[in-house]
């Protein structure tokens, strides 16, 4: 068997059965092995940032890694921004990058690049496989690295001759590594802090601590001690809606975040990191908590927050309590589009167990308070700040849910233009994704940031911040990629289009003029 065969069989043996792909010449033997060995679902993206973003969305919902198939260094480069986001989201991806044949690399043919150098900037694990006989073993190690809790980006570089040469050996199936145990001292210290200073303490959740099982435990701790519970702003995935906590995230803006955190003397970090600003600003600190706030690490991002919170519940002897009631489900809003009205309408209409891919940027900062009473759902965010993950994450999430759950993509227009090719894959795979493009025809977040520089934008500045000349027409763009679409100028129109799309096993784009 050639190397490529051993690779595909190794992936399948460990349950990696979905491949997001944009192949090139050097991957043709890998493509042939994928074609000839049954069992791998292959999904084409028309640019590599779609491919890597889909793999991220897939992981968040399927809770296991997919693999990718990228072409040489520049193909990897095209997908690096969403690998950066996946790394920040701690999503597991077996990122496979085909490359020049080992003996051809020294000739420095045009597509030759520093593939390893690129990979190291966005991966926790990188290896170039150099012999067909080693490829199965290398692939198994890549899978193991991708499964390091909660997930990692592992990049396996695959020279063409390592694919085509004979001598492949299938790698052993890989179990997920066990996360490092939570430190009992950390649990005791957190418990002491909560007993003494519960009402002055914030329990800050991120990563898997923002999912259901951990939320239930955190709520017991909070009820027993008076502590407040919030989620980190850059949490990639929250369990939300009825039966889950009415969590708020630490706000994005430095001032709002500093205000929200000012009163806490203690912050207990549960898979979260100390809250810092997205950017530095002249005269403002880097950290968002008060200077005298004490930070306590209950569990690191690579530890199991359920184990940590169970330990805390036990030490505190925190009783069982029911999850808080979010109140009645709202009715759809009417009238001119507003962030509150859209959020209320989404909460009113979303099917049970929906997935929300939220790259609404500035428009969506207040969505949470209007969507607590929605049905139970998974709400996905951009964790790495590199815009353009919303549409591909939605696409991959729909595949991760085996097309059985409605995905609602709340998408700012400027960011949508980074990865609009996702819509084509949604049409090709007939995915149940409803995309709501928030068309405000500008990089609104940047206009806000510009004003904070203390200047009024002139013509040259606006030439870099305004998207209104010419206006983008998202109905045409979606139709051009085979996706049905319509424009809505009121919330009633938006609601009607949402209801219609929720009944169909196909993608739909609503261009909401906001």
């Amino acid at each position: 068997m050639n190397g490529a065969y051993s690779l595909v069989k190794t992936l399948l043996a460990s349950g990696v059965d979905t491949c997001f792909a944009n192949p090139g010449t050097s991957e043709m033997h890998f493509v042939a092995a994928l074609d000839q060995i049954p069992g791998m679902k292959c999904v084409l993206g028309l640019q590599e940032n779609i491919v890597t973003g889909m793999a991220d969305g897939y992981f968040r919902i399927a809770r296991k890694p997919a693999c990718t198939l990228l072409h040489c260094g520049p193909g990897l480069a095209n997908g690096m921004a969403n690998l950066h986001n996946a790394r920040r989201a701690r999503s597991g991806i077996v990122n496979i990058v085909g490359d020049q044949a080992t003996y051809h690399r020294p000739f420095d043919a045009p597509l030759t690049a520093d593939t390893e150098g690129m990979a190291h900037t966005v991966s926790q694990w990188v290896r170039t496989s150099t012999r067909s006989a080693d490829l199965g073993r290398d692939a198994a190690e890549a899978i193991r690295a991708a499964r390091v809790f909660p997930g990692q980006v592992s990049t396996l570089i695959l020279p063409a001759d390592v694919s085509w040469n004979e001598g492949g050996v299938v790698g052993e199936p890989v179990d997920a590594p066990v996360p490092p145990p939570v430190d009992a001292n950390a649990i005791d210290k957190a418990a002491r802090t909560l007993r003494s200073h519960g009402v002055d303490t914030l329990i800050l959740l991120a990563g898997p601590a923002a999912l259901s099982e951990a939320q239930v435990l955190a709520w017991r701790v909070g009820q027993a001690t008076g502590a407040t519970i919030m989620a980190d702003y850059v949490t990639s995935h929250l369990a939300r809606g009825r039966g889950r906590l009415q969590l708020e995230r630490v706000p994005y803006g430095m001032e709002q975040a500093t205000t929200a955190l000012a009163r806490f003397k203690h912050i207990i970090l549960v898979n979260s990191r100390p809250p810092v600003g997205f950017f530095g600003y002249p005269g403002l600190p880097s950290t968002q908590y008060a200077p005298d706030t004490q930070l306590h690490v209950l569990s690191r991002p690579d530890q199991d927050p359920v184990e940590a919170l169970q330990g805390l519940v036990q030490v505190l002897n925190a009783p069982h309590v029911s999850m808080p009631d979010p109140g009645p489900r709202p009715d759809p809003a009417v009238g001119a589009p507003s962030p509150e009205g859209l959020a209320q309408t989404v909460a009113a209409l979303m099917p049970d167990n929906s997935i929300v891919s939220d790259e609404s940027i500035s428009y969506g900062r207040g969505f949470y308070s209007f969507t607590h009473a929605a049905p139970a759902n998974d709400w996905l965010h951009l964790a790495g700040g590199a815009i353009g993950d919303g549409l591909p994450v939605a696409t991959g999430a729909a595949i991760g849910a085996q097309k059985q759950r409605r995905v609602i993509s709340l998408q700012a227009d400027g960011s949508a233009m980074y990865s609009l090719q996702s819509l084509w894959t949604q049409a090709r795979e007939q995915l149940p994704v409803t995309t709501i493009i928030l068309n405000n025809s500008k990089y609104n977040i940047l206009i806000g940031e510009y004003k904070s520089v203390g200047a009024v934008p002139g013509d040259t500045a606006m030439s870099m911040l305004d998207l209104g000349n010419p206006s983008l027409n998202w109905v045409s763009l979606a139709n051009g990629m085979g996706v049905e679409a319509a424009r809505a100028t009121t919330l009633e129109e938006c609601a009607d289009l949402m209801k219609a799309s929720f009944g169909r096993q196909a993608p739909f784009v609503i261009e909401l003029m906001v």
Copy 2:
């Protein structure tokens, strides 16, 4: 003056007066300086690979570097594929990447990345400026590096606080460095080879050796010695049409290239590199010339080919000769679209002094022989093999020509989807670009490569190679970005649309169903 002001003034002082941009929060002080200091033309691209590809196209036509404005590591990553192409094309770009404030970087905020590590993979020169007082000097060195003959990618990383802090000092204006002189021994050796073995010798041109001045000299050498003249396959820019050589490029395919080069006992490299395959293939060599062919370097890619060829003309005492006549200009072709017919129609109709951006991939391999009798034109190619440069290079070239020349973009559909956002910038800037999308609904080059693996593609392979489900509609896509468009199914329709678009100072897309 703050650092950002000193940066803009340094750029302008050295004639860098065009900025291709996609800014983010950390660049707002730079944007403010661009806004408040007159003289810089700022052009927005809706994704960074558009921005960097435009800078490449601009350089090829304006023959001087533009600067870019990118946002943090992931923004750089998005633009890296076209920086790779620009590096291979030896285009000069002052690539400016905003980044986290120096003191904020250790907090590892979400967008923090290994910006320098990324930059090194696609740049010949990289520096992070760390003090406002140094920024002007650093920018001047970046400009100098970008102007190293014939051009380089220099990346200047700009932390936000280096922009906003006071103490900026404008850098001295920068002259282009003089290229290293051509070795007289290399000229003598080439002359001896040509005198003894002229008819068995190939003069292989690349880089600036494929432009008019060098062509005239190469032709004199060829006529005096019987040597053949060709261009490297990956030449980024050829002077073509009436008054220029009827050059052919070394073919793309390994077998065709090997056949074309087999008879040459000597190859004289004029800014070209030894011809090697784009990829390695099982059982085939990496090099395309015969095993006993002797290679002679007349001028390296960083040397002046005009100086080298002038020296050769002198030593050989090669007489003045008129350039070869390409024969009569063809008439437009009619009937069903074919590569030959399209090339003939383009040659028949293109305005004088047009620019052709050719990313036609497999469809366009035979375009040359049907376009020698076109009017004089500049013909631009993908030099680095990373698909998706055709549309942004066309866009930047139109700006480099100050909108005074018609740009014809011959564009494969699969590659077009990598950077379709370029069309929006063409509409925003009202650029005279006529794009002909070659809609064959597949990655045709890969289907050919797959067959050479020796296999018939099955359903899974075709799911990664076929673009026909759903079909892309390029009229809708173009309209969605504010560009007028129409579909052509015959060459007559294509010719009518071309003629109409050539008369208008605006972009137009022709979707040619091939």
